[in-house]
Symmetry: C2
Subunit: 482 residues, 2 copies
């Protein structure tokens, strides 16, 4: 970037435009709560507004930034709005954005320890910090038999866990010979769809995933799991893997980790704990009990990119036995050989994941942990949980509404008494208003509204306004005779 | 980020620290060629320099930035140095860094069209632009039967292609029932290891990948491929997939696309073209002929994050028949249902990839294409190819060295006449000097030096200095009696 007249952006121009971009982002956050949360564009509208072909001649940065404002922004659904209550959040924060910027600036590719030792070692250290904060067993530390790694998403983490489980069932030598179609995995009816997808990707077959029924709190029924495993073994199948969830996507239900872990230990199954959403809560000691039984787990995952103020993508994944993971995913061509790898003294994270290349994602996580400190993270987690409890009380106090699932952390599942259609109308009207964005799920076959309070900037006033809008919208639709 | 005393970084502080970070990065690029290219730290050194635990109290941003300078920087191998000639490059550029920064700032998660329409539609449009620039067939356009998507890496792209191929072999219903161990795929002995890894991940078995022999230019021998497919069919196996490479990792060898494509068409095999490195060259019309036969391909991949000045991760992946890809990877739980998806009028890119979530990676690619313009990209591609040709001439003119593979683009494979050990000594001495970083491979069983000239900032002076250092180092080692 140091030369003129060669099409690169000069360093001086980078300083100037970089600061313009920082200001643009700062301005965006100052007004983000004033945009309609859910984009109102129609399919094709954004694409049609863009040129038909790449420009032959380079354009001014100012022109590009103008197009961001005029052409891109209308097509943005504002995940960083304090009125975003849909899905689960994907939170940013100042330190995370700047850690990510540093990663882009350094531009290192950390596929091997030797291709940038800091990229590997900061990641290893920060995941050890987090293992401490979450009270994960010693085995998950890099100083033990396992270790942690950053994946892009919990979907990729569960795929890696599943493949490691598939390969640990070593009599089949699946990695080498291919699947035999007899290996079986288990989850609940509430488990995230990523596991079913991973069964397909891994060649195990989606039909070989057993979705065990849940109890009245939408938690996996451990007795039914044990019975299903026994039945499958009796039928000549090979059970290999169980996924328990801490905080399901539909309703943040909490599967009984210890009971499931004991079954896995007795039956010799790989035990994966998916705490993608709710793992963050366990940073507060008062929720540490949720990890009772996690010592049975072979792998564990939670996503700082959801509720821990660390930009997407950042999914933390630990294994108790790193050799099982590396054995499943390692491959070593000549052009990647180097002394550090051959010495065995280092982690080469490309053997812990599906892709070969990787960026320096640990920087943003390191920045977040250092800037907020543990007490800063705890402050926000507790604040969100408190706001969630308030909303639960308001819903319970309203005769027209009902709570339909426990709300242990930051998600309220509720519905208006009456038809699914009315509830869908309420949701659509709310989202079309632009004042907030929430989504739905089905529980016990009924259409249920999901309102998540986990966005970095959501405060009491936003939740109060949301509830007021929900009740007035519902009243209006009732009056309309719906 | 708008409140004080709540641990968030305030918007004002974000403006200030953001500009400090921009300046830090600008300063870094002004001096990047003065660092030892390959980090000199020992295993554990960086990790040991970091605290044992996350801080309880948040720290100043200035302190964090100081630690970047003092603790992280020594562990960086400088991929952005103009003296980086190792592996293949992972280039940054000003517009890419700022596009990536905007992506972090907006913080949208584009798993579905509806979760930020611009995230999907800018990506679709920019990949249509690139399909034009590369002369890819009409089918690869979003307006045709296929379309393009950004993957993290070519490894993930080839995995998706392989799974789509596996599922298209629909009699087996692998996704549902699991693999049967009889499906076979093909590549050359020079194909990237990611395909062997993908065979394992996909449950097809690494042993079911046939590595066909290459000719004297290290290109796949199409006659041998045809014979192997016939032999496997005769043995009752099911050939499903062939990968051809434009620019292999070892030596940028060019597989014969048309000849391989015709075999795939005749035998009903999925044909994937991996142009991860060299696809960028085809943006120059004089290299368009390399795509002769690409009309036979079912999928195609190249990585702007290598040679097209777009920060990692950005691997562009196209399919001719998007239904085949979506059919293999789609899954639709209730909590992700929405009207746009149900209408069928939009792309939901989570069905085109392994993970569910995705960030707005198209911004950096859009910024690069607009800021450089097509002529800016062509300028740099041609400049790198010209520098490469100069180095080839210098090597050929030196009696002590020999060129061991064709150098069509930006990689020179050469060796000092004599033993492998001498060549390894030369490489190790060069890399320890800190003056440059190059790597090796094996070709025809011999240790070969690989020197890639594709870094954004590499100029004639850097290549001249590199060659001078190589010859003087070799002369010294010869004098030492090695």
């Amino acid at each position: 970037m140091s030369e003129l007249k060669n099409y690169h952006m000069s360093v001086d121009d980078f300083r100037r435009h970089g600061k313009e971009m920082i200001d643009w982002i700062a301005d965006y956050y100052e007004k983000v709560d004033r945009y309609p949360v859910l984009s109102k564009v129609q399919p094709g509208e954004i694409g049609d507004s863009l040129a038909d072909a790449a420009p032959v001649r380079g354009e001014d940065f100012a022109q590009i930034l103008r197009d961001v404002e005029e052409k891109v922004l209308p097509g943005i659904t504002h995940w960083q709005s304090p009125r975003f209550h849909a899905y689960f959040p994907a939170n940013t924060s100042g330190p995370a954005i700047l850690g990510d910027l540093l990663s882009a600036g350094l531009g290192v590719q950390g596929m091997l320890w030797s291709t940038s030792p800091a990229c590997t070692e900061v990641e290893t250290r920060v995941l050890d910090w987090l293992a401490d904060l979450l009270g994960l067993p010693e085995a998950y530390r890099s100083t033990g038999s396992g270790g942690g790694v950053i994946q892009d998403t919990a979907s990729s983490a569960i795929l890696c866990a599943l493949i490691a489980a598939r390969e640990r069932d070593s009599g089949l030598r699946t990695n080498r010979k291919g699947c035999g179609g007899r290996q079986v995995a288990y989850c609940s009816t509430q488990t995230h769809s990523s596991l079913e997808k991973a069964m397909g990707i891994a060649g195990l077959g989606r039909a070989n995933l057993r979705q065990v029924e849940v109890d009245e709190r939408f938690a996996l029924d451990a007795d039914k799991l044990a019975a299903q495993v026994k039945a499958d073994k009796a039928a000549g199948l090979r059970p290999i893997f169980v996924c328990a969830t801490l905080g399901t996507t539909s309703s943040t239900a909490l599967d009984p980790i210890a009971a499931i872990g004991q079954i896995c230990a007795a039956e010799g199954l790989w035990f994966h704990v998916d705490a993608a959403m709710s793992g963050t809560a366990v940073i507060c000691p008062e929720y540490r009990y949720l990890h009772d039984g996690v010592e049975y787990a072979d792998s564990y995952c939670f996503n700082p990119h959801k509720w821990m103020f660390t930009n997407f993508d950042c999914s933390c994944f630990w294994v108790a036995d790193r050799a099982a993971l590396i054995n499943a995913l390692s491959i070593l061509p000549e052009y990647l050989l180097n002394e550090a790898t051959e010495s065995g003294a280092v982690f080469d994270y490309r053997d812990w994941q599906v892709p070969l290349g990787r960026r320096f994602r640990a920087l943003k996580l390191w920045f977040v942990l250092r800037y907020y400190g543990v007490e800063g993270l705890q402050y926000h987690i507790r604040r969100h949980i408190e706001l969630t409890r308030k909303l639960v009380q308001w819903v319970e106090a309203d005769e027209h509404f009902e709570i339909v699932a426990p709300a242990p952390f930051n998600l309220v599942c509720f519905r208006h008494r009456g038809s699914d259609d009315l509830n869908k109308r309420i949701m659509d009207d709310l989202n079309e208003s632009g004042e907030l964005f929430l989504t739905h799920t089905k529980l016990n076959g009924r259409f249920v509204l999901r309102l998540c309070i986990g966005q970095s900037r959501t405060e009491l006033e936003h939740v109060q306004q949301a509830w007021k809008l929900i009740t007035t919208t519902a009243a209006r639709l009732r009056a309309d005779g719906r």
